[in-house]
């Protein structure tokens, strides 16, 4: 066999065929898109264009432009009272996706385990496996809003468990945690001397309370690998710029891998990110306000048509139950697509325990959301 065992053993996406079906159809209202429907703010795009006109086309430092790292440090200090040394504790990556991969490869020895609350972003399990580790999924449920409990972590932690990978606000559930809830989780993490890889990419899109970075909690800074980026809050998905902040030994190890594999993130993307950090506060708030409006509409509407849905605290996803249909999430998604031309993502994609849910992205216009709800209702009534 020509493929490595490690890669061969990672399960392929179970919904690839469904994705291909969606991409092959026209005139579909898609509630299945995991990126903002806003264009990157013009001043950010203009800076990217200007940087190319000025001839900024070369490599940057492996760690990323020092100006960007300093700006991130200043931003986090002001926003969250969270301080990092831009020289040794911050690395610019190719999206948070690369940061996630680097973190796992940097910290995991073969066979070591990472706790992963489920439902979770599709890449979490595979990046642990590709790094030679073993994901241990902690199932959550709609009964408590898909929040992992300290007790679950406590019972699963122990021999061979290096840490926990927690994304909040969460893709696909939109779940986030209050400071008090995070403090309880942090106590268990400290008890077991674990690391936490904290994916906080949707932090600015937290609606009902202030987002609390895990690293700001007492004694957590030295055991938190903090991941963030520009894709969601700044609508810069295609620019592929993320960053990691953490203890110097871990960031140093991640940098070592990064310098041999990626070398550096795109200079154009980094230039755009500098501009985004400096001047996008109003843009971010405007987008957040619009997402929040859609959130309140879509959750109410889903519950009204019989798809029980908890109120997500962040991101731009809702994760309703499809129990009322009697179908599996894959069948429901496929039938809805073929009969009503509405696309959403089957819950199976986000964990084995999620086959009675679907992910609905409200990164779509208000009119699209209303039309989609009308079509879903029509489909449900036909059943």
């Amino acid at each position: 066999m020509r493929i490595s065992k490690r890669v061969d053993q990672v399960a392929p996406s179970g919904i690839r065929a469904f994705f291909d079906l969606v991409l092959g159809m026209k005139d579909v209202i898609s509630l299945g898109v995991g990126e903002p429907d806003f264009v990157t703010p013009w001043h950010v795009r203009a800076r990217a264009i200007e940087s190319l006109e000025q001839g900024y086309t070369s490599y940057t430092s492996n760690k990323g432009m020092i100006e960007l790292r300093r700006d991130i440090a200043a931003f986090l200090d002001k926003r969250y009272d969270l301080t990092y040394d831009p020289e040794e504790e911050i690395l610019i990556t190719v999206g948070v996706s690369e940061a996630l991969d680097l973190a796992m490869r940097a910290i995991l020895n073969p066979g070591e385990k990472i706790l992963v609350p489920e439902p979770c972003y599709v890449a979490y399990g595979p990046v642990v496996e590709l790094a030679g580790g073993k994901p241990v999924f902690l199932k959550t449920s709609i009964a408590n809003g898909f929040k992992v409990t300290p007790q679950q972590i406590d019972e699963a932690a122990g021999r061979g468990v290096r840490g926990i990978l927690l994304g909040y606000p969460c893709n696909p559930t939109g779940t986030s945690y209050s400071k008090k809830e995070l403090e309880a989780i942090a106590r268990v993490i400290k008890k077991h001397d674990m690391l936490i890889i904290s994916d906080e990419l949707y932090d600015e899109l937290t609606y009902d309370f202030e987002h609390t970075p895990m690293a700001t909690l007492p004694s957590m800074r030295d055991r938190t690998v903090y991941l963030n980026g520009f894709s969601k809050s700044y609508a810069m998905t295609g620019f592929r710029i993320g960053y990691v902040c953490g203890p110097a030994d871990i960031v140093g190890a991640m940098t070592k891998i990064h310098q041999y594999t990626m070398l550096c993130a795109s200079i154009t993307g980094q230039m755009a990110a500098i501009e985004a950090l400096k001047n996008s506060a109003n843009d971010v708030q405007a987008m957040k306000k619009e997402y929040d409006r859609r959130r309140r509409y879509i959750v109410g509407a889903l519950n009204d048509i019989g798809m029980t849905c908890h109120m997500p605290q962040g991101a731009f996803y809702a994760f309703p139950s499809i129990a009322v249909t009697g179908e599996s999430s894959m069948d429901f998604a496929k039938n809805l697509l073929l009969k009503q031309k509405v696309a959403l993502v089957p819950g199976d994609a986000f964990g084995q325990s999620c086959s009675q849910h679907v992910r609905i992205s409200y990164a779509s216009s208000y009119d699209n959301l209303k039309e989609a709800i009308a079509r879903i209702d029509k489909y449900l009534k036909r059943k």
Binding site: F19, V22, L23, M25, V28, S30, G32, V33, G34, E35, P36, D37, F38, V39, Y121, V122, A123, N171, A235, A343, V345, A349, S364, S365
Partner: protein
């Protein structure tokens, strides 16, 4: 039978440059008032530059607007010249963008 109202989506809009000969002692104001009193005229502005008034007219069709300009506007006393520009597409108005290029360029489905 009453004439059906044109729906916003079928209304034709034109921007008309109007050059006028200002009247003694009153300038442009009374001419502007005569122009903007027509219900077809939605907006009327006095501008600096190559012409005097910018008049925005709406009608059911290109012909309706053209007829209004010919019959009512260009024949008006003190109106020296008009140039009519029909609106073909709105990109942005009053801060609202009418097109979402990102939505059209995104993949229909992604994680």
């Amino acid at each position: 039978m009453s004439k059906p109202k044109s729906s916003p989506s079928t209304t034709v809009r034109a921007l008309i440059e109007v050059s006028i000969t200002p009247q003694k002692d009153v300038g442009f104001d009374s001419i502007a008032e005569r122009i903007y009193s027509y219900p077809e005229v939605k907006s009327c502005y006095l501008l600096s530059g190559g012409y005097d008034l910018l008049v925005i007219v709406e009608g059911e069709s290109i012909h309706t607007v053209a007829d209004f300009v010919a019959a009512k506007l260009s024949s008006m006393a003190n109106v020296r010249q008009t140039a009519t520009h029909f609106l073909l597409r709105k990109y942005k108005e009053e801060g609202q963008v009418f097109k979402h290029p990102k939505s059209e360029r995104r993949q229909n489905i992604s994680y």
